[in-house]
């Protein structure tokens, strides 16, 4: 204790006092410094060094791992995807937050609205991912998004009554996308047999009766029927046990292809075109009858997975932006806004010229926070993207984890990806320190 150099001009006892003081400081700081040192500082240095060694750390490989990042297709895709996240998410989240904050400012029930939008923030990104995994399912009977799109799509462009049907014999030409037409030209007095097959029993329209076998008549007579019965039956021939297909629209065209008439089939599938001029006609069924019902957009497929993920991510974070911006908005002095309005500025001008510039610091905080979050995005990708499309959905943090712990177990390359991530957030570190310096001075 006596060996401690006494502070200049201090009484001799000060040496012991100073030692004591340092011991107290150390007691307060020690645990934190130990944890920060062992769990953050040491690993950071270690990871930087590790990134220059091979997968098991036995050989120095120089910058090979860094070259790999940009040549390995899966990892490079992660960088490209993450770039898309960076371009879209911070700007969009900030904009949505601003719009919500401004619109709710003078609405009485804003607390209810803000709570609803903010709630996903409390949910983990992983659980949010599970939520969107349920929402984004492709089958419109299960995924709510596709169910909604399906309702709209089917209202505008309804599915045909016989979406799976096809011709039972080569007598009909064409396909589902163009409609089916009887190959043979018809004249008044002829019989048109439009046989279809491939219709499951459940899809036979209700009210169907035994198919009619029309005899020749005055005009063109015919039948649209399910040319199939248990055991098969003879194609192209109306047989007992085969059902007529009601409510099918049959179109009659003349030799030039111009539509002459159209009619609906009866319960037994029969139809008739009377009062025809002599000449050559062709009968067929339009493509609308065969239109497929909405099969669902493949949100979780390789092409749309990143947009689907970004959508889910914005759902989570918009509330954060809204709350922070609303707090900034509340701090703007009322008289500044009033002054602008008194000077005759419109609401839009006030917003554009007064509110937004005054909010700029808050908006930039939100933007930067989102930038960091997006660079580190991980959980939601792992939760929403099925295993088979994780290569397509890849982001930097996920690539790092999959390379290191997800079966590849390449600690060298994994370290290099971690360092890349670190380098990307480094400018923000500089910004934080600068801000602290200006606040401190």
């Amino acid at each position: 204790m006596t060996t401690a150099p006494p502070a200049a001009g201090a009484p001799p006892a000060a040496g012991g006092q100073a030692w004591r003081k340092h011991a107290v400081t150390l007691a307060f700081l020690g645990p934190a410094l130990l944890l920060l040192g062992v769990w953050i500082v040491y690993p950071t240095v270690r990871t930087m060094l590790r990134s220059f060694f091979d997968r098991d750390g036995s050989a120095f490989v120089g910058i090979d791992n860094y070259e790999d990042i940009f040549t390995n297709e899966v990892i490079f895709r992660a960088i490209r995807n993450n770039a898309l996240w960076v371009l879209i998410v911070p700007a969009l989240v900030t904009a949505i937050g601003l719009v919500f904050a401004v619109l709710t400012e003078r609405v009485a029930w804003r607390i209810a609205f803000r709570t609803a939008v903010f709630m996903p923030m409390a949910i983990s990104l992983f659980a949010a991912g599970v939520i969107w995994r349920v929402m984004d399912q492709q089958d419109p009977d299960r995924g709510a998004i596709n169910a909604t799109i399906g309702v709209v799509k089917d209202a505008i462009d309804p599915p045909g009554s016989l979406s799976n049907a096809f011709a039972s014999t080569p007598a009909l030409e064409g396909d589902a996308s163009r409609g089916l037409v009887l190959r043979r030209a018809l004249e008044p007095g002829d019989v048109a047999l439009l046989g279809l097959t491939g219709i499951p029993p459940g899809q036979v329209p209700g009210g169907a009766e035994q198919a009619a076998d029309p005899g020749p008549g005055e005009g063109i007579r015919g039948v649209v029927w399910r040319d199939f019965k248990p055991g098969g039956g003879t194609p192209g021939k109306v047989e007992p046990g085969e059902l007529g297909l009601p409510d099918v629209t049959v179109v009659l065209r003349d030799a030039a292809g111009k539509k002459v008439d159209s009619t609906q089939t009866g319960p037994d599938g029969a139809f008739a075109f009377d009062d025809l001029e002599p000449g050559s006609y062709r009968a067929g069924i339009g493509k609308a009858t065969f239109a497929k019902p909405f099969a669902g957009v493949s949100w979780l497929g390789p092409n749309l997975i990143t947009p689907a993920l970004i959508f889910a991510y914005i759902w989570v974070w918009a509330g954060f932006a809204m709350v922070v911006i609303a707090a900034g908005l509340a701090a703007i002095p009322r008289d500044v806004l009033e002054a602008a309005r008194t000077d005759g500025a419109s609401e839009w001008q006030t917003f554009r010229r007064v509110t937004v510039p005054l909010l700029a610091p808050v908006l930039s905080v939100v933007f930067i926070t989102m930038l960091i979050n997006v660079l580190k995005v991980f959980d939601i990708v792992l939760a929403v993207a099925p295993g088979s499309v994780q290569d397509d959905a890849n982001v930097i943090a996920l690539a790092m984890w999959r390379t290191s712990f997800g079966g590849v177990n390449d600690f060298g390359l994994g370290s290099a990806i971690a360092v890349l991530l670190f380098l990307l957030v480094l400018p923000i570190l500089a910004l934080n320190i600068k801000r602290f310096r200006t606040e401190a001075s």
Partner: protein, 296 residues
């Protein structure tokens, strides 16, 4: 005076005719409508998960969760019953609770000690050291995963509750120290000085003065740290494959998504119910903490 004021005509605000008022309300109708639709849209996904969790597997085989709207009688607790009698899941929930509580109490206590030193103790290199702490704020978790993975294996504590708590504690420290130091520095200097003159030791001051005064900041921080660690997947998946916090348990189920939605949906809902309860109970602190911490 009072009687004059009372008799004086109210500021001659032109009496707004009824039609004007109706127009004003109607003019705002699109905004109300827009907000109502957006608010509803924002709630639907979470409600969708809740409804999914309340339907039996066979009902879900036949259609989406919205069938519950037209057939509320289909709702059943059977998925939850099955889940809560599944020991793996209840163990996972318990593990998560241990990890989250440990990772909340430990870093806040350690950070409060350090924050007090940064705010009120004089020592060489104080500002410089605090800048280092701010710098550590942005170090991505990913930088530590591989070395700590090796370290845990060497120490023999890999895949334990303790290993998870220690990792969360370390990475929770920079933000906690930053927030608490800024809060503590705002405590009036006189209070501390007079305590020191009265001969109170620094520890006494810390426990008797600083901690009670810092409670609002500590509460915000605790909520954040609790939610953050309860919701964590990355750390749990790296160091807790067998310790298996609830996120890892759900993640394991996700690989067979489709065949086991009756497990995934209720498990996910339970895992997010606690954070939502915490959020609603402490909403004020949550928002405060968010505003203070949006530099992270």
């Amino acid at each position: 005076m009072a009687s004059v004021a009372a008799r004086a005509p109210v500021v001659p605000r032109p009496a707004e005719p009824l039609s004007g008022r109706i127009l004003r309300v109607l003019g705002k109708a699109p905004v109300h409508l827009f907000l109502a639709v957006i608010g509803l849209l924002w709630l639907i996904p979470t409600l969708g998960l809740l409804f999914t969790s309340l339907l039996s597997a066979s009902d879900l085989g036949g259609g989406g969760w919205w069938q519950i709207l037209s057939k509320p009688s289909a709702a059943t607790w059977q998925n939850y019953d099955a889940l809560l009698s599944n020991e793996q899941i209840t163990d996972s929930l318990l593990t998560t609770l241990q990890v989250a509580i440990g990772s909340t109490v430990l870093p806040i206590f350690i950070a409060a000690l350090a924050a007090y030193a940064f705010a009120w103790l004089e020592f060489p290199g104080r500002d410089w050291l605090f800048i280092v702490v701010i710098a550590l704020l942005v170090v991505p978790l990913q930088m530590a995963l591989i070395p700590i993975f090796s370290l845990y294996n060497t120490l023999g504590i890999f895949d334990t509750v303790l290993s998870l708590i220690l990792f969360h504690t370390a990475f929770g420290l920079p933000f906690a120290i930053f927030l608490l130091r800024n809060f503590f520095i705002g405590i009036p200097k006189d209070i501390l000085e007079s305590a020191r003159i009265d001969g109170a030791s620094e520890f006494r001051i810390f426990f008797r003065l600083i901690l009670p005064l810092g409670l609002p900041a500590i509460a915000s921080l605790a909520i954040f740290q609790f939610l953050w660690t309860w919701n964590d997947l990355l750390v749990a998946l790296t160091f807790g494959r067998d310790t298996k916090p609830i996120t890892v348990a759900i993640f394991n189920q996700l690989t067979e998504f489709g065949s086991n939605i009756e497990i995934i949906a209720p498990a996910s809902f339970i895992s997010l119910a606690l954070p939502i309860v915490v959020f609603f109970a402490f909403q004020r602190y949550f928002v405060q903490g968010l505003l203070a911490g949006s530099v992270k």
